[in-house]
């Protein structure tokens, strides 16, 4: 069994950011990767996928964008290439094609088993990602067999889908992007809208993420927001990173001809049933956007921002007057369903008692209650931007600092 101070699991942007910070402190470590670096970006993104964040915001420890398109949005292969280069430049000790099968407590730390042998280590960083498994509600079992179903992890492009109507379930970033793309391919889209976070691509002439970063919104800390449970479960922002910087919100989709319906609430006797809560969910999202823009405008007035456009407010979301409460899935109107209903991490190999009753790792800003075990790359892990590429830099720095202190002065583990 090989012996090492720290094992980092996952060679995505978070694992490599951790590796860079550990190297800076001369903490010997290895980064275990089941596939290639940036594996999910290579294998689980649709063809037209681009990052939601502009290039200038794509930062990692010791790296910032130097290209000629700072306001552009990277494709998944471009990001995978960047992450690969980052691993090379930082000389990250990555072992690719090494699948972790178990992490368990051992003498003076942990034992990490892989399909390429075992490691004995004092500390472990879980950096295997928040989006390993597409979450599909149990009611998928009631979908008639003739309807083709895809998750965003499986979807590549509209040509994979049969001709005819498509039900897209979920109106977060993936759902609105795929609804837009699929409807433009000539397949009439019905979009089932649950809770969502409305966001314009640009505001007052600048990218909305520029404002959120400048006004400090992206840096809000997990221990400062009033309800961190709620903040961590928020759906992703309704954003798309397109070359022409389009806003794809519900009004844009309605203008395109997409039919909005309420949240998919059930499937019964072949009928998809939609909630009557659509007006309220749209009102909630409009009000929340208004509060964000108020925050931005207040900050801009105080900070004296020059060169930006005047404050603006966007039209309220147009809710259809009586959207259908049911659609017959056996009528042939709907030929395929895309489940854009979120993702979850896969920690099935984690044999350390730090999971809650729903199988999620319990942590305090990425520090678990089990000494020496850390987590990175989860929504709002330590700050609002933790789910963005740029969140890895400060989160990795904070966690490396904590980990280094632990190595210097370990807390005894009760066992």
């Amino acid at each position: 069994m090989r012996d090492i101070t720290t094992v980092v699991i996952g060679a995505g942007h978070c694992g490599l950011a951790m590796s860079r910070c550990l190297t800076d402190r001369s903490i010997d470590h290895v980064v275990l990767e089941r596939g290639e670096t940036a594996n999910s970006w290579r294998t689980q993104r649709w063809d037209s996928f681009r990052l939601l964040t502009p290039n200038w915001l794509t930062r990692l420890p010791g790296y910032s964008y130097q290209g000629d398109d700072p306001d552009g949005f990277m494709t998944a292969p471009e990001l995978a290439e960047l992450i690969d280069q980052y691993a090379t430049v930082t000389a990250a000790p990555v072992l690719t094609h090494t699948t972790v099968t178990s992490v368990r407590p051992g003498d003076d730390g942990f034992v990490v088993d892989t399909d390429q042998g075992s490691w004995k280590t004092r500390s472990v960083v879980l950096a295997s990602g928040a989006c390993n498994v597409a979450v599909v509600p149990a009611l998928r079992d009631a979908v008639p067999a003739e309807i083709l179903m895809r998750t965003p992890a499986e979807y590549r492009g509209p040509d994979q889908l049969p001709e005819g109507g498509v039900l897209v379930v979920g109106a977060s970033a993936s759902g609105i992007q795929l609804a837009d793309e699929v409807h433009r391919s000539g397949r009439a889209v019905t979009l089932a809208v649950g809770e969502h976070v409305r966001m314009p691509r640009s505001y007052r002439g600048l990218d909305i993420l520029w404002w959120m970063e400048a006004a400090g919104v992206l840096d809000e800390r997990y221990d400062e927001v009033p309800d961190i449970v709620r903040a961590r479960s928020l759906p992703s922002m309704q954003l798309v990173g397109s070359p022409h910087k389009a806003t794809v919100d519900l009004n844009a989709l309605t203008a395109l001809g997409v039919r909005l319906v309420g949240r998919l609430a059930g499937i019964r006797d072949g009928y998809a049933q939609f909630s009557g809560s659509l007006p309220n969910l749209c009102a909630l999202a409009d009000l929340k956007l208004g509060r964000l823009l108020d925050t931005v405008d207040t900050w801009a007035a105080d900070a004296g921002v020059h060169g930006a456009g005047p404050p603006e407010r966007f039209a309220a979301t147009q809710v259809p007057s009586s959207p259908p409460l049911a659609v017959d899935l056996r009528s042939g109107e709907i030929r395929s369903i895309i489940w854009a209903t979120g993702f979850r991490p896969d920690m099935s190999w984690l044999d350390v008692p730090v999971l809650d009753r729903k199988g999620r790792v319990v942590h305090d800003g990425g520090v678990t209650a089990w000494p020496g075990l850390y987590l990175i790359g989860m929504p709002f892990l330590r700050r609002r931007k933790s789910s963005l590429i740029a969140g890895a830099e400060p989160d990795a720095a904070d966690l490396t600092s904590h980990l280094a202190s632990y190595l210097d002065c370990p807390v005894p583990v009760a066992s």
Partner: protein, 185 residues
């Protein structure tokens, strides 16, 4: 919003948040059962009693037994001994949303002075009379109109009402399908 004196809408938010925190450690105490009994009196007149429920890990009891008469109006050739069952649904929705408005206002430190909801439901009688199979029995739509006087901006008041809907049990019952089983023993 006034910050001179703390808002007091008579809602014990600390107790509610205490329950939420307790649920994290003991999720079983969140399992509730609500109950009512309904006895036929005569014609379309019935009388329901509500007294016990199960929750917080044990049997619970209201401080008294509440009694509700339901009937149909004279125009339905009934005796109008009480409101119709569908009107109880309106009562349930209005009272659930209004309780939510008060609780959310308390949590957000917004002082309420008056809150009034008007609840209206549209129904086509062809449904329950079996006169037209294309018409459903239930409401074709429900509309709630709030008139709220509070120490808050119009958008803050709208946000109160929106958040109340988001956390309302009766709103959920009305907007989403529910499995219902009826047995005879």
């Amino acid at each position: 919003m006034s910050v001179d004196t703390p808002a007091d809408n008579g809602v014990n938010v600390e107790a509610l948040l205490g329950v939420r925190n307790a649920l994290a450690d003991t999720p079983d105490i969140a399992q509730f059962q609500w109950r009512a009994t309904c006895s036929w009196v005569k014609g379309t007149h019935s009388r329901s009693h509500v007294n016990t429920f199960y929750g917080f890990g044990g049997e619970q009891q209201h401080k008294t037994t509440f009694v509700y008469d339901a009937d149909h109006p004279l125009a339905f050739a009934a005796e109008d001994n009480g409101v119709t069952p569908v009107e109880y649904v309106l009562v349930a929705l209005g009272s659930c949303l209004t309780a939510g408005v008060a609780a959310v206002a308390q949590q957000r430190q917004i002082q309420l002075r008056s809150v009034q909801a008007t609840v209206e439901a549209e129904m086509d009688l062809h449904g329950i009379l079996g006169a037209d199979p294309d018409v459903r029995n239930g409401f074709s739509g429900v509309k709630v109109t709030y008139n709220i006087d509070a120490d808050a901006s119009p958008d803050e008041v709208k946000a109160l009402v929106a958040q109340s809907q988001k956390r309302s049990a009766v709103y959920d019952v009305l907007t989403n399908p529910t499995q219902v089983t009826v047995e005879v023993i």
